[in-house]
Structure formats: structure tokens, C-alpha cells
């Protein structure tokens, strides 16, 4: 290329810098940047460009169509409730694992990661069986007219399953580092157990719990494998956004799939940003 007589424009400068940097750097850098470019930057750009070919009006119309809105409701509301539920029980489990001794503790502690390691299709399969009307757990609640599998409740159970390790594993290390001295001090100074918990234990834990809930929420929002099997995937009932994308693709409606995909991706990015902010907040305590 002929050397340009103009100074590089500000928006070209970053690219130039990246190029200069890459040509001067060692090969691990080139592998890292090259792989990230091919695997992440290129696909994300392709999706955004595909969406940007659509007039904003049409994009908005598809993104807020009644069926899309109902899938957002099922996906995000259910994921939020599940994540918050796990915020409560995950913290309780972390507390129990850190503070108390009981038989088989090591195995129980290790098993918390099982939802993380178990392939999602297996999770969906077994949850659909266990929570169906004649399953081990489902048959207990069926006489009360409660159906779990193949309803929105089933989606919630699948989301509870997959987001549980995130809360426990974020809260546990913070609890481990917390000295029980402070609690004893609070108690000696006359605080009730409830006051001790509320004013002494909870504040330093709160950033970790929020981070765990956000991580769990993020995972639950994107989940596909377990939820698609445990739900009936009926529109306006228990159809989640990832399944809608899948159905659009099956109908060769690439535009429709892309629009919902962009909405989901943007929300994932916002959650990722939130998690980073929460983690920075948590570091202030340590």
C-alpha cells in the first residue's frame, strides 16, 4: 500500500495500532487474537450486520411481536425468579458447607458442581421424568393439581438445576474467609442472632450473593438443552426465547431468528457488564 500523506484518522488509529502490535508480537499473541477474531468477533459481527440490514421499524416489529414478548416474559421472569430462589438456598447451602460438619460432607460438597458437569440434555431428560405426573417427585404434587414437567414450572426447575452451582461457588469462598470472630464479638456486645446476621454477616456476603445470582441468571437465560426437553414449548405458555430462535431457524426464517438472537445477545452483554461491576464491588470488601 502506498504510504498515505494524511495522518491516520482517529477511527483508523485503533486498527493501525492492533496491526502494528500484532506484527511486532510473539506467536502466542497472534494465536490468541486470531482465534478470538475468528471464533468471536466474526460471528458476532455477522449477526449484527445481518440485523442492521433490516429497517429499524421492522426490527422493532419483530423484536416486540406478541410471541417474542411472551418468550421474553417466560425466559427472563422465570430465570430471575429461579436465580433469586437459588440466591436464598445457595447461600444457605454454602453456609451449611462452610460452618457445619456432617457425614458424607465431602461428597455432598463435590456434588454441588454436578449441574455444571452434567450435559444439559441428560438434565432435561431426567428432570422431565422425575417431575412428570407419574414421576418420583411429580406424583407427589399431581394430586393437588400441580403439574411441573411440560409447564412453566418445569422450565423453572430446569433453571434452578443449572444455576445452583453458580451461587454456592461464589458465596462459599467469601464465607470461608470470613472470621467467626466478628460474629462472636457482635454477640458479646449483645446483638441478637438476627441482628448479627443482618448487620454483621450479610453485608460482606451481599456482593458475592449478587454476583452468584447474576451468573446464575445469565446461565438460565441462555439455557436451551434442559429447558427444551422439560417444557412443552407451547407458544404463550412455556416457550422460551432460545427455543423460539431454534424454531425460526427450522422454518428458514433467518431474519426472525437473527432479531431475537440480537435481543438475547444484547441482554447477555448487559448482564456480563453487571457481573463485572458486581465483582469489582465485591473486591472492595476483601
Amino acid at each position: 500500500m502506498a504510504p498515505s500523506t494524511h495522518p491516520p484518522t482517529p477511527e483508523r488509529l485503533p486498527f493501525l495500532k492492533v496491526w502494528q502490535f500484532l506484527s511486532a508480537s510473539s506467536w502466542p499473541w497472534r494465536v490468541t487474537i486470531g482465534y478470538l477474531f475468528m471464533m468471536l468477533v466474526l460471528p458476532v459481527t455477522a449477526m449484527f450486520l445481518k440485523a442492521s440490514q433490516l429497517p429499524l421499524n421492522d426490527f422493532w416489529k419483530i423484536a416486540t411481536s406478541p410471541i417474542a414478548l411472551s418468550t421474553y416474559d417466560v425466559t427472563f421472569t422465570t430465570a430471575l425468579i429461579s436465580a433469586l430462589f437459588n440466591g436464598l438456598f445457595g447461600t444457605l447451602i454454602a453456609w451449611t458447607l462452610v460452618r457445619y460438619d456432617f457425614p458424607l460432607k465431602r461428597i455432598i460438597e463435590a456434588s454441588v458442581d454436578l449441574p455444571f458437569a452434567l450435559p444439559t440434555s441428560v438434565a432435561g431428560l431426567t428432570l422431565a421424568t422425575v417431575y412428570s405426573d407419574n414421576g418420583w417427585v411429580g406424583s407427589f404434587v399431581a394430586p393437588f393439581g400441580i403439574k411441573i414437567a411440560f409447564t412453566r414450572l418445569g422450565v423453572a426447575i430446569a433453571m434452578l438445576f443449572i444455576s445452583l452451582p453458580f451461587v454456592v461457588r461464589t458465596v462459599q469462598p467469601v464465607l470461608q474467609e470470613m472470621e467467626s470472630d466478628i460474629e462472636e464479638a457482635a454477640w458479646c456486645l449483645g446483638a441478637s442472632p438476627w441482628q448479627t446476621f443482618w448487620h454483621v454477616v450479610l453485608p460482606p456476603l451481599f456482593p458475592a450473593i449478587s454476583t452468584g445470582v447474576a451468573l446464575g441468571f445469565s446461565r438460565a437465560v441462555g439455557e436451551y438443552g434442559s429447558t427444551v426437553i422439560v417444557a412443552s414449548n407451547t407458544p404463550f405458555k412455556d416457550l422460551i426465547a432460545p427455543v423460539l430462535i431454534f424454531q425460526r431457524l427450522e422454518q428458514y426464517d433467518y431474519v426472525g431468528a437473527t432479531v431475537i438472537g440480537v435481543v438475547l445477545l444484547m441482554i447477555s452483554l448487559v448482564i456480563l457488564l453487571t457481573i463485572n461491576v458486581l465483582q469489582a464491588w465485591g473486591r472492595r470488601y476483601s
Binding site: S121, G222, L264, S268
Partner: protein, 275 residues
């Protein structure tokens, strides 16, 4: 260390907490996990092994192993490069790069698959170019490979970065001063330091590749005997009411998960001993 927490007298509180923990974990994790094995062996071991030798099942196993054999080494190389680049350098945008590295965990697997379709599908960016050279990516093995690589990309780097940061660069610099080549430094100094973290990262990568469902499902087309992994086989047989076949494959995948957790335990114990 005292076992009781002072404000909560040695009373019924621990019992209730342990009780709730066990009940919650049973409902969400243990009963479903146990159910996998109970269903698979409901009619004894005979039908189970019969399902295991079914040609469709064997094809799914073969494809799953082949995916892992290719995707895992590629992600090991990338993970080590990225970990070294991020942990051994201070540069503007380092935190940003770390977040970018985490993206595959945040992006829904279905969206990941969709992006691959938009890139490599028939109407995608590279669609016509690929068609010209007669390479099929979507609804074929290369697409499934890309999807598996995508979803399991961050594991190795994420496990290795903290260890590299903790050990520092002193030993490596010393080795270099003494005349070791970069490769020798990596092989004799860095690798032994990070071996446990790397092992766990590899195990996680492998588990994710072998178990991935969403992303692979989008790009595979789920063609029986050709683009069907074990995870897809589970869903497919379940939808066709071949519940026993589904559970036979599920047992295999559940064992993989158990192995993953056991390796994690071992790695954690070893790192505690070292540290």
C-alpha cells in the same frame, strides 16, 4: 477451631440448615441424578448393554469422541496462549480482553449456533465461497466442530490464568537468563507449575464438548448416524419414545460428569498440598 458459631447456640439451627440443604439438593440434584441410573437399568443390565451396541448409538459415540479429539487440543493451544498473553502482560484493555474471553459462557448456545449459520450457512457470508469449493459446514461435521470449540473456548485459559498470576514470572525469567529457550522454559518451568489447573481446564473442556447440546443442535441438523452426537441422541430417542435408549446414552454422559467431578476433587486436593 470451634465448631459452634457463637450467636447461634449449639442448638437446632445446624440441624435445620443441614436438613434444608439435603432436602433442596435431593429435589434438584440427587433424585434426578439417581433417576438416570435407575431408569437405564430398570429392566436389568441386559437391555442396557443391548442399547449400547446399537449401531446408531455407536455412531453417536464415535462422532462425540471425534469431536472431542479435535476440539479439545485446539482449545488447549488457544487457552495456553491466551492465558500466557493475559497473565504475563500488563496492557490497556486487559480487563476488557478477559471479559471478551468469557463471552462464550454468557452467549446462549442457540445464539452461538445461529451466528455460525449466519456465517457459514448457504445464505451466510462465506456460504457461496464454501459452496464453490464444495465444503459443507452447516449440517455437517465442520459446523459441529466450530460450535463445540466456541462453547468450550474459555475453560483452559480461565483455569490457568490465576495460577500463572500467582506463581509470577520470576522462575521463567531466571530460566531465560540462564540461557533456556522459550520452548525449554515453557516445558520445564511453566508447564509443571500450571499442570493441575491445566488438567482441570482440559477435563472441563472435554466435558463441555462431549455434552454440548444447544449450539451443536442448531448447526447439526441432527441427521441420524451422520451428525448425531450422544447428547443429540438422548433428545432424539426421548422424542421417539425410546426412553430406554435415551437413558442408556444418558448414563454414559452422567459417568463422564462424575469423572469430571472426581478429577476436580483430586486437582483441588493436590493444589492444597502444593500450596
Amino acid at each position: 477451631m470451634k465448631k459452634t458459631t457463637a450467636p447461634l447456640k449449639k442448638s437446632w439451627v445446624p440441624t435445620i440448615f443441614i436438613g434444608i440443604t439435603l432436602l433442596y439438593l435431593s429435589l434438584i440434584v440427587y433424585i434426578p441424578a439417581f433417576n438416570v441410573f435407575a431408569q437405564a437399568f430398570r429392566k436389568g443390565a441386559g437391555p442396557f448393554f443391548e442399547n449400547m451396541t446399537h449401531p446408531v448409538f455407536l455412531d453417536a459415540v464415535r462422532l462425540t469422541v471425534l469431536l472431542a479429539l479435535i476440539a479439545v487440543p485446539i482449545n488447549i493451544v488457544f487457552g495456553l496462549c491466551a492465558a500466557w498473553a493475559i497473565a504475563r502482560h500488563k496492557f490497556p484493555g486487559r480487563a476488557f480482553l478477559l471479559s471478551v474471553l468469557d463471552l462464550p459462557f454468557s452467549i446462549s448456545p442457540v445464539v452461538a449456533g445461529l451466528m455460525l449459520v449466519l456465517l457459514y450457512g448457504r445464505n451466510g457470508w462465506f456460504g457461496s465461497a464454501l459452496e464453490a469449493v464444495n465444503i459443507k459446514v452447516i449440517f455437517a461435521f465442520p459446523g459441529m466442530l466450530l460450535a463445540s470449540m466456541f462453547v468450550s473456548m474459555p475453560f483452559v485459559a480461565r483455569e490457568v490464568i490465576p495460577i500463572l498470576e500467582e506463581t509470577g514470572a520470576d522462575q521463567e525469567e531466571a530460566a531465560k537468563t540462564l540461557g533456556a529457550s522459550e520452548w525449554q522454559t515453557f516445558w520445564h518451568i511453566t508447564l509443571p507449575n500450571i499442570r493441575f489447573g491445566l488438567l482441570y481446564g482440559v477435563i472441563l473442556t472435554n466435558a463441555r464438548v462431549m455434552g454440548e447440546f444447544g449450539a451443536v443442535s442448531v448447526v447439526s441438523g441432527n441427521i441420524t448416524r451422520r451428525t448425531q452426537t450422544l447428547s443429540l441422541y438422548v433428545e432424539d430417542t426421548y422424542r421417539e419414545y425410546l426412553t430406554e435408549a435415551a437413558y442408556s446414552a444418558a448414563v454414559l454422559l452422567a459417568c463422564l460428569a462424575v469423572v469430571t467431578l472426581v478429577v476436580k476433587e483430586i486437582v483441588e486436593r493436590r493444589t492444597h498440598q502444593d500450596g
